[in-house]
Amino acid sequence: MEKFEPVISETIDHIIASSGLLKPEIALAIAFLLSIISSLFFEKKFKNSTFLIAVLGFISAFILLIPQFNDPQEGFFGMIRRDDFSIYGRMLILFASLVTGFFIQQHFKHKAIKRKIADVYSILLAASFGLSLLTITTNWLLVFISIETVSIASYVLVGYLSENKKQSEAAVKYVLFGSACAAMMLYGLSLLYGFTGNLDFTSAMHIQGLISAPKILCSVAILFLFAGIGFKLSFAPFHVWSPDVYEGAPTPITAFLSTVPKIAVMILFSRLCASWFETFFYFSELTFLLLVVIAIVTMVVGNFIALRQENMKRLMAYSSIGHTGFLLMAVLAFVQGNTDVLLFYMAVYVLMNLSAFLYIDYLESKIGDANIQSFMGLGKKLPFTFVGFSLIGISLIGLPPTAGFIGKFLIFSNVFELYSESSEFAYLLLLIVGAITTVVSLFYYLKIPLYAFLKENKSDSVIKETFTFQNCLAFLFCIAVVILGIFPSLLLSLLK
């Protein structure tokens, strides 16, 4: 005991000194605890008190982030690393979570459900706590804890509000698939720990251990690791859960699941790639090969299966799988040091996806379902909605004058540069597949204006445009997407 005494005071000093790094996370944690108390005791007296606490939590965490710019630091014995990349990532995460909070509140305002909505906000806070931890760490232990935090919170988000057969089925598929992938990832991590004796994946000891690890075991460990990451990013072949879960979950929850966890895990994944691509040994080659193959297969699977989807939510699920493939291409740009390409694409992706789901929710409340066929002839009755929705579709394809075009253009030009420098076949293949799948995506996104404006609807049902929270906010995002498409430097100069 005596030999520990001087170490203990030093350790405590270090922990106290580095606790400033975690200010936004601490704000979220406090909001989480307060929201549980308020949903237990105050919800009956003051309606919406939990919602207000959640909103305040997100906003205060956001404000606490701003003074941390341009000040990269390490804390908690290297477990937590703060840099500008993580701050931008957390800003995106908090922004999207805040929008989801409002979305949930508006979605359930007019619905009679048996469960207490207040608890959903607590779970949302817990999920964004885990997500923001994920962006600032390079330590496998913290990575696993935060991935599990996010996973458990998302299982509850999907399962808690399930009211019919379909919704409960979505939850059970999600939880079984997710836990199996997490278990595989844990086994992979245990092997990686065995090879290296170190849990920080950027450290020299870790890289050294991977270099000297036996090839077969190293491949097994990396494949298992990719199973866990692949589940959260929903890249092929671990994407099979996402269409079912997206269809079964309530629309605001789907909007959350399809955007926010992807950003956080993508940040983690790009850090992993950046530190593992540096060497010329077997594991670097394997990770690079896996990244390229997965990106190609994901783009192909996502975009081609989306062609024959009738349900708008399933279509968006496959479309977001396709976008994951593109984001994996952006990781290659990130590895070369172009952080802004990845961040710009993620920011645009958040705007596009959130507004698409806001529109889907609005249309669901208007016409009862989310099938594309039911949009027939509605363009004239709901012009405000469908003009915006079509623009979002155009941006998701990646056509000018929208921000989706700029995002895809930046990725393509970066990968092309890489190809002209190294003339490696993998880059060329990525470019070709990316271009082909972009063309393919034209066919299903343009179904929205096709059905809404060009097809006639004989039935004379009375559907009138109303200005709700959903379509007004979605229209705002739509304007933002167009403005960013015409003046991309507004955001790019910030991210540089």
Binding site: L141, E169, L199, D244
Partner: protein, 101 residues
């Protein structure tokens, strides 16, 4: 004398049994049991490797956290399976197929 190899072989066997249960069993509870076996195999690995990491005890700490997280995930999983049973009156995964392409 039990060496590292013994531990690794046992954990690999447990992992394979778990993976087999996840892939082959159609009862949702049995799938959860399989997942639990896979997690425990990984935990065994961590503890076995942790013996050689005397500076940080990373493996042992990881094992503790993994046990806690596995328990939390299984609790949520069981609650969701109960919910499915109430709606569908079955937990056979082959019979729960409303959502598909």
């Amino acid at each position: 004398m039990i060496t590292l190899t013994h531990c690794l072989v046992v954990s690999a066997c447990i992992f394979c049994i778990g993976l087999y249960a996840v892939l082959a069993k159609r009862n949702a509870i049995m799938v959860l049991v399989g997942i639990e076996l896979m997690i425990n195999a990984a935990i065994l690995n961590f503890v076995a490797f942790g013996k050689y990491d005397e500076s940080n005890y990373g493996g042992q700490i990881f094992a503790l956290f993994a046990i806690v997280l596995a328990a939390a995930a299984v609790a949520v999983g069981l609650a969701i399976i109960l919910n499915v049973y109430r709606k569908n009156k079955t937990i056979n995964l082959d019979d729960i197929t409303d959502l598909r392409d």
